[in-house]
């Protein structure tokens, strides 16, 4: 450290106090999660001090039929909600980006509202809504997941719209005109010129929608019908009965699945990028 050139006035990252600060904040952010993961292997029911390594609680979580069902349901919800949010959000972004129409500013502002209002207000509003319109409860699987999916789409697609619109802001409309001049139809132009440009925005938006869905607790909590098992609600009731290694094991699995899904989603876009660079 001492032998190197002196720290420049703007090289904040090389200052010791800032490095210590960063370290402290990252310890604060990661230590609880690391402890949670480590203690999912703890051979102790009370799970306070380390008693020895075991994978028993993973086996137990895997044998917990309702936990498995809840897990599957949450993944289905995230999957369907991501697709719907991406499509609806991207279309809305295109409408706001491309057209001038009466009420445009109003729609623009209104579509940002689900992003800013407290989640609990939206949660209770959806609870009342599904109750008052007489949405049938006790529907067979997977229809019983519909209210949760509807809620997730309602708070996710505005985020997608924001991301896609930011991407479209850099689009040169003369490309579309060139495409049409060269004889492509409206549809061909949209599909071969506009959509490929939009793609990074679509991927970023869908990743965000998936994260929002997997991260959500409040909306799921208020829109789950009495017989519908979802992962957050299931874990919530387990936590209320006591913090056992089984909860840690189930949480660890969700953390790993979420990170894997994200890595796959990021990887998935890579080949396109390479192809684009080569072509």
């Amino acid at each position: 450290m001492l032998g190197r050139n002196p720290i420049g006035p703007l090289e904040y990252t090389r200052r010791l106090w800032l490095r210590l600060w960063l370290l402290a904040v990252f310890v604060f952010l990661y230590a609880p999660i690391v402890i949670l993961v480590v203690f999912s292997f703890n051979d102790s029911r009370r799970n306070i001090v380390w008693q020895g390594f075991t994978t028993d609680y993973y086996v137990r979580a895997a044998q917990n039929a309702s936990l498995i069902e809840a897990f599957g349901n949450s993944l289905i919800i995230a999957f369907v909600s991501t697709i719907l949010s991406t499509v609806i959000g991207a279309l809305l972004a295109l409408a706001l980006w491309r057209f001038r129409f009466p009420g445009r500013a109003g729609l623009d502002g209104a579509s940002a509202l689900p992003i800013v209002i407290p989640e609990i207000c939206m949660g209770v509003a959806l609870l009342v809504f599904f109750n008052r319109i007489g949405w049938p409860t006790g529907m067979p699987w997977p229809l019983n997941l519909a209210p949760i999916i509807i809620g997730h789409v309602a708070f996710s697609f505005p985020f997608v719209a924001v991301v896609v619109r930011a991407r479209m802001a850099g689009f040169d409309r003369s490309l579309e005109e060139a495409s049409k001049d060269l004889g492509a139809s409206e549809w061909q132009t949209f599909w071969n010129v506009t959509v490929p440009f939009m793609k990074p925005g679509l991927i970023a938006g869908s990743l965000l929608a998936m994260t929002l869905s997997l991260d959500d607790f409040v909306i799921t909590f208020f829109t789950s019908g009495p017989g519908t098992l979802t992962f957050p609600v299931q874990v919530y009731s387990m936590v209320r009965f006591g913090a056992t290694p089984e909860v840690n094991a189930a949480s660890t699995v969700l953390i790993v699945v979420t990170i894997l899904l994200t890595i796959i989603a990021v990887r998935w876009q890579r080949p396109d990028k390479q192809a684009a660079e080569l072509g």
Binding site: I33, I35, V218
Partner: protein
């Protein structure tokens, strides 16, 4: 941009799904609880809309006013702590060498990929009386005791037994939890503005003789104001409405407005009162957003010559 009349079919295909979804599954539900807030409970689940103001008046009952105050206070403290913690982090990330920057950004974003319930649950093992913070403190206590032993001072200074701090099931735990869960919301907008900052202004300030601290407060903070405002709003609004964090980490005396709203809709089954409370919370949110819009427009007016 073109008029929607140029291609009405395309326009409707683009705009309808989003607009309808927003109307049906956002505005109609909110409208329902807005109406419900003027209702009276006439049975265990039946509510009659009598346009009474009783529910809103009930919100101004001292008990609930106290609750709103506590929520505002907890959210304010948590937001300030997040700001103080997050500002140096954002500064470090935006001034980091290009090689390290994406890694640091990823480290800030990564906790988002963990469900909020799991993150809140993870705090329990850290904060409880037999949790890791107390284990750490006990270790320090034992070290201190061993150090003082030769002087015979250990019993006098350190006491006979280690008394664990009560960190869980109180307001401190709730503030801790909020900061923990929402810190990335603070860092990201701060980073976004600091990253666009014109560095020559900082160099000019330092060249002209201002110290690092003066430069920080007179140049960096004013220029980062839009990011600071966004960060504050992104942390404050969810903190104000939280019910999960206070439910799991708070004690009986640290109920927040979110917990009481949840109770009205689940256990207590008093939907009209819960609806009125939700709308008071919404009005507070709108007031904050309006304040922000006003601040921005004032800033813009000042920027124009």
């Amino acid at each position: 941009m073109e008029s929607w009349r140029a291609q009405p079919a395309v326009f409707w295909a683009f705009v309808l799904p989003g607009a309808l979804w927003l109307l049906l599954f956002f505005f109609v539900p909110l409208g329902l609880i807005w109406v419900l807030a003027f209702g009276e409970r006439v049975g265990p689940v039946e509510v009659e809309i009598t346009w009474t103001l009783a529910n809103y008046l009930a919100v101004f009952d001292p008990v609930y006013v106290g609750l709103f105050w506590r929520s505002l206070w907890v959210a304010t403290v948590a937001t300030l702590v997040a700001l103080i913690m997050g500002l140096p982090v954002a500064l470090a990330v935006s001034f980091a060498p290009a090689r390290v920057k994406p890694i640091l950004l990823l480290l800030v974003i990564l906790p988002f990929w963990t469900n909020i319930l799991i993150r809140t649950y993870a705090m329990i093992a850290v904060l409880r009386s037999r949790g890791f913070v107390n284990f750490g403190l006990e270790y320090l206590w034992l070290l201190g005791k061993a150090f003082l032993m030769p002087f015979g001072l250990d019993e006098i200074v350190m006491g006979e037994r280690f008394e664990p701090l009560t960190l869980l099931y109180n307001n401190t735990a709730v503030i801790f939890g909020i900061v923990y869960v929402y810190l990335p919301f603070m860092v990201l907008p701060l980073y976004a503005t600091l990253d666009r900052l014109d560095r020559s202004l900082l160099e000019a300030s330092l060249d002209l003789g201002a110290g690092q601290i003066r430069t920080f407060f007179s140049i960096i903070v004013p220029l980062a104001k839009p990011g600071i405002v966004s960060g504050i709003i992104l942390v404050f609004i969810p903190a104000l409405g939280t019910f999960l964090i206070s439910d799991l980490l708070g004690g009986t005396d640290s109920l927040l407005i979110g917990n009481v709203i949840e109770r009205q809709f689940k256990a207590a089954n008093h939907w009209p009162l819960g609806s009125a409370m939700s709308f008071v919370l919404l009005y507070i949110t709108f007031a904050i957003l309006a304040l922000r819009a006003w601040l921005i427009s004032r800033e813009e007016a000042r920027a124009r010559p």
